[in-house]
Symmetry: C2
Subunit: 366 residues, 2 copies
DNA sequence: ACGTACTTGGAGAGCGCTCTCCAAATCTTG
DNA sequence: CAAGATTTGGAGAGCGCTCTCCAAGTACGT
């Protein structure tokens, strides 16, 4: 830690005395001020600002001039208090897995998954001038406060991401009547909007490819066994393999990190030395698997073929580039945002879901 | 696009009639309601809720019971309106480079840089119960609105990230007196708090290592030539190389993406076939460089040694693992958050900066 | 000319909360 | 036990905005 003694350690010529939020005595102009300058009433100014007709074009102009003159900016907080609209959508991520020094969250945010989702979300939200507020909930207490705030209109709606197995949050949100969209289906049946990938189909694609390639002993490295996205990939893979006559598939599960993929691959290799094909449930773990395989002296794809999942940027950068199942996460996130926005607009919309179809991207690892 | 016809395509048994934000007629309990139930005045309830002394312990209990009974949750919006505190910090990123279909932002969010920063920020903010609101500004108009909202207390402070060369935003923020901290120093001298890495020192480390290794012709792949983080790395590298007797360093610049690194490496290779060492200004570009070098049949590090920058997760996953300059981005982001929080607490704090020292992480690429 | 219908601007009541006053109640102390 | 010092609770004035009402003004038909 160096900060203690470096504060102010690089001096800047222009430094001025520290000033508070608002220089003393300098109050920001309010509607009232604009009204006074324009010589009309507060209501009229409000009408003009919000573009409501029924205002004499002349006054219209007078008001806008007054706005320019005073440098008036509407106070969103005050406005939200009465309109019950904040122009904010909350992105909720859960961290029940996290422990003291915050290891889980660090991992989560650094994962390309998070960035892709945020990117997709923002591509839609920014066009509507909606901002995204990041919320992390872990405890029961946290969930309660979140839902309470949400009911009060702290945010107009919420995108829910990456929940642990049987999180009560989706249910709480629907009960509270808060517009919400989940990315990835809820683990328990709950009447909530969601956008998901046909994970099972994706896994099938991988299975088909590996089998067609002529692999004889095919294993799988899965994610945690209690989250839907992961279980769907497992069941989809198993089902497809079974159809191809592979009644049994060696499986080791990791936690979606590169390290866990490496460990899992070693384990798989130790137990099944003959293995010549492996489906890894995400690219990050596949990267780890590649490392472990190389360590073990296996050539890819000649000795062992590897298929990943996600088609994240890691897939292209891998050596060899990963054959992987494309997960159109940005599109899905964008779609969730659109869905949420329309749900906010029209509260009577019925619960809906959107399922995206994955595709196989063939590169060199299989 | 499949969503048009898949809405509601998976039916859920429990679907209920869509309900608005608040079921009709069901108003959320307010302070007033709690006061009525407790048989005291609104002020007293407010005092109890906010833990102000001067309240009879008996009443204290009565009030809390009433809170429990009514299920009261304070309305943050209303509270913020009067306290001028929102419990929100804005994370501002700029996208002036972005064009129509949003390519820049997509890149930016998917970059591990963004995730690491968010992770570091949240690790501190969540402990104070502060939420992070993502804001993208591009246009002059956008900047004005942002600063306006900020002055109104839309957020208590702002973390500024990744600005293009001569963005006027830092100046606008200081002028407005909004508590702000930049991650990475401002391009123009502005009295604003910031947390930065000694980029020049980092580049020196890379230069020393490459020289010590015995490389004869050493090139550099830099980032855009107009952002401070990038120029500092260039000048630091050049300076150090000069001291070692290398008066001239072939340089090609990219834009911090893997693709651009690949292109830059090809260019460098074409112009300097003898090249046997290269410093790449970030790991993502280094990944691309590795690809290009492998394509050209060069062995790493035997034929060409490569040093990256950032020590992002990509560095470990690369083949061979990258020797790179460690950029403690999470720590820096966490520190910015702390700095901002204390600045918010104490408006009279003087402008300060914190510079972190990078270290060299030696792996196998050099 | 008058009455009716429509347009337009203003007054004012909140949204839910905090916080400053002030009065009442309680406690000191000579 | 009176007079002052101290606690404690309530009334009420906002924070800055929206939006419903209502009155005044304008246009039209008979």
């Amino acid at each position: 830690m160096c900060y203690k003694n470096c504060y102010g350690h690089r001096k800047l010529g222009l430094m001025t005395a520290a000033s508070g939020r608002t220089p003393v005595g300098e109050r920001l102009p309010t509607l009232e001020d604009v009204a006074r300058v324009a010589g009309v009433s507060r209501s009229t100014v409000s009408r003009v600002i919000n573009g409501i007709r029924n205002v004499d074009p002349q006054l219209h102009e007078v008001v806008w001039n007054a706005v320019g003159e005073t440098g008036y900016v509407p106070n969103r907080l005050a406005r939200s208090l009465v309109t019950r609209r904040t122009g904010t959508v909350a992105l909720v991520v859960s961290d029940s897995e996290s422990h003291d020094d915050d290891p889980f969250m660090g991992r989560f945010f650094a994962d390309p998954y998070f960035g892709r989702v945020v990117g997709g979300l923002m591509s839609v939200l920014r066009q509507s001038g909606v901002q995204l507020a990041l919320q992390i909930v872990g405890t029961e207490e946290g969930r309660k406060r979140l839902v309470g705030d949400l009911r009060h209109g702290q945010a107009d709606g919420v995108i829910v991401l990456s929940l642990p197995a049987h999180d009560p949050l989706p249910g709480m949100l629907t009960d509270a009547g808060v517009p919400a969209v989940m990315i990835g289906r809820p683990a328990d049946p709950v009447p909530i909007n969601y956008v998901d990938l046909a994970n099972d189909t994706g896994a099938s694609l991988a299975a088909d490819h590996l089998v067609t390639r002529g692999c004889q002993l095919i294993g799988m490295i899965s994610g945690p066994v209690d989250v839907p996205a992961s279980t769907d990939r497992i069941s989809g893979f198993r089902r497809s393999m079974a159809r191809h006559g592979y009644g049994w598939v060696p499986l080791v599960s990791g936690n979606f990190t590169r390290e866990s993929g490496e460990d899992a691959m070693r384990e798989l290799l130790a137990e099944n030395p003959q293995i010549d094909g492996v489906f890894v449930a995400n690219d990050l773990m596949a990267l780890g698997a590649l490392l472990a395989l190389r360590d073990a002296g296996r050539r890819i794809p000649d000795d062992v073929a590897v298929v990943g999942f996600d088609d994240s940027s890691a897939a292209v950068a891998a050596n060899p580039p990963l054959t992987t199942v494309r997960h159109p996460l940005e599109d899905m996130a964008a779609e969730s945002a659109r869905l949420l926005l329309s749900r906010i607009e029209d509260a009577s919309m019925r619960v809906s879901s959107v399922i995206y179809e994955p595709t196989l991207v063939i590169r060199q690892s299989a």
